[in-house]
Symmetry: C2
Subunit: 275 residues, 2 copies
């Protein structure tokens, strides 16, 4: 039962004031959360990143009020699976860029169907498109903020449905991430994932994997990684908190199998994402 697709500050409403700073400057953050039943999955990771990003941007928001609203919002939907988007902006107003005096942030909740990707993405693996849009280094690295034009331009580069995701490099040609996912490589039984201290989004699924890996017996190295490392990898996968893990089987001239470590990580992530 979907009463209304959007709630704003705890009330069903599908419009925001045109003077919102999220619109004006991308002055806000968001989370896209897989919901099974009424339960947000990987919730503690999502709330932690949200809170960290709000702090970094100096946006004042009552996170405990937000969590109450999320609970009520999901209840109002009656238990169906889907994707919950939580978007927080600095709110209305302020004079130009200056955020001084903007203490009334705006909380926007919306629900969406789970994306209908073929099961093959998860089991047979995907092809990565080589995006030419590069990610710039900046002080916003790691956050899932609303300044996402680089991702939009990268995703606009291909329309061939033979590619399920695109790989983005930084301005120095280092591997960073997919347009909507993070990247992992496996080499000699060790997991590698690009450092995200200068650009990229610290994805919640990536965080979960980094957090769990030692318990799974997997050493992890987070570092600057170039394309040669990708070409020599034994296994490659991308992940996000809505779709889980997708093995990568094709990128440019490279071909990989769906490896045993990838399959193990995929299945463990899937356990969590299926609630």
């Amino acid at each position: 039962m979907v009463a209304n697709n959007f709630w704003i500050n705890g009330e069903p409403c599908s419009d925001i004031p045109a003077n919102d700073r999220g619109l004006a400057y991308g002055d806000g953050v968001f989370e896209t959360i897989r919901v099974i039943g009424r339960r947000p999955t990987l919730a503690e990771f999502h709330w932690q990143r949200l809170e960290d990003s709000l702090n970094r941007l100096g946006i004042q928001a009552d996170v405990s009020l937000l969590l109450d609203e999320v609970k009520a919002f999901l209840s109002s939907r009656g238990g169906s699976d889907g994707v919950l988007k939580v978007l927080i902006t600095r709110g209305s107003g302020g004079r130009g860029y200056n955020p001084a005096g903007c203490s009334e942030s705006r909380r926007i909740l919306s629900c969406h169907p789970l994306p209908e990707h073929p099961a093959a993405n998860r089991f047979a693996g995907i092809a990565l498109y080589p995006c030419s849009t590069r990610l710039g280094h900046n002080c916003l690295a790691g956050m899932k903020h609303l300044n996402r034009l680089e991702n939009v331009l990268a995703r606009a580069e291909w329309s061939d449905s033979g590619f399920q995701e695109g790989l983005m490099l930084d301005m120095n040609g280092l591997l960073i991430e997919g347009t909507m996912s993070n990247l992992f490589l496996v080499k000699n039984g060790t997991l590698y994932t690009p450092a995200l201290d200068r650009c990229g989004v610290s994805g919640v699924c990536r965080e979960f994997i980094l957090h769990q890996a030692s318990g799974w017996g997997l050493p992890v190295i987070v570092d600057d990684l170039g394309e040669p490392v990708l070409e020599e990898a034994d296994e490659v996968f991308v992940c996000n908190s809505v779709n889980g893990v997708w093995p990568v089987v094709r990128f440019r001239h490279c071909r990989w199998q769906v490896g045993a470590i990838t399959a193990m990580v995929r299945d463990r992530v899937l356990d969590v994402l299926n609630g």
Copy 2:
């Protein structure tokens, strides 16, 4: 007579749908235009930048319809001076970052009072705050797009009203711009302004000055410029299309006079900005 502060797609309206991509991803562009009487000043430069940016982002918008709406909007305001903000987003929808199928861009017009800066800014000059927020290099350089978190964070660095603007450097420590203005230096009768091919906004007032300088007998050099060049400058000023030219008289330990070339450029710009 202000009937309504906002028009959306040609109609008085102050809300936008919460699924607008301008909000979700900063997927759009804007112009902030000084209006004298019913006339937007430096109009041709604003419309040119807007159109160039829309093309670069692949946002389909009917610019001639927009210009008709601007005319009607300004007429409805009855001839008072102010600032017109024109904001174009890619519109609603799309699946995630993918902009495919978003062909209904949204046109948002709003009017605001002219900012009340002291006349001293223009005549006695201003102090520049040294912002520590650096501008990252990316493929979006030059555009006045909606991904403006770096400017917001830089402007949030100071609240001391003794500073009227802040200077932003790039990740390599090169001079780029003010938080809301462009930077010019004068040395031995030549104008210098930072190259904006890797970051920064190609301001309309800067474009106007670059366009006019040779007619004013001023050689111009657009180049990579470091802080030592600033320290050795004879004159320094910042400019934007709403406030015109503000001479800079103080930055860190440096002091400058309001120089003759700055005063000349300021007055010529003022002629245009006063309609």
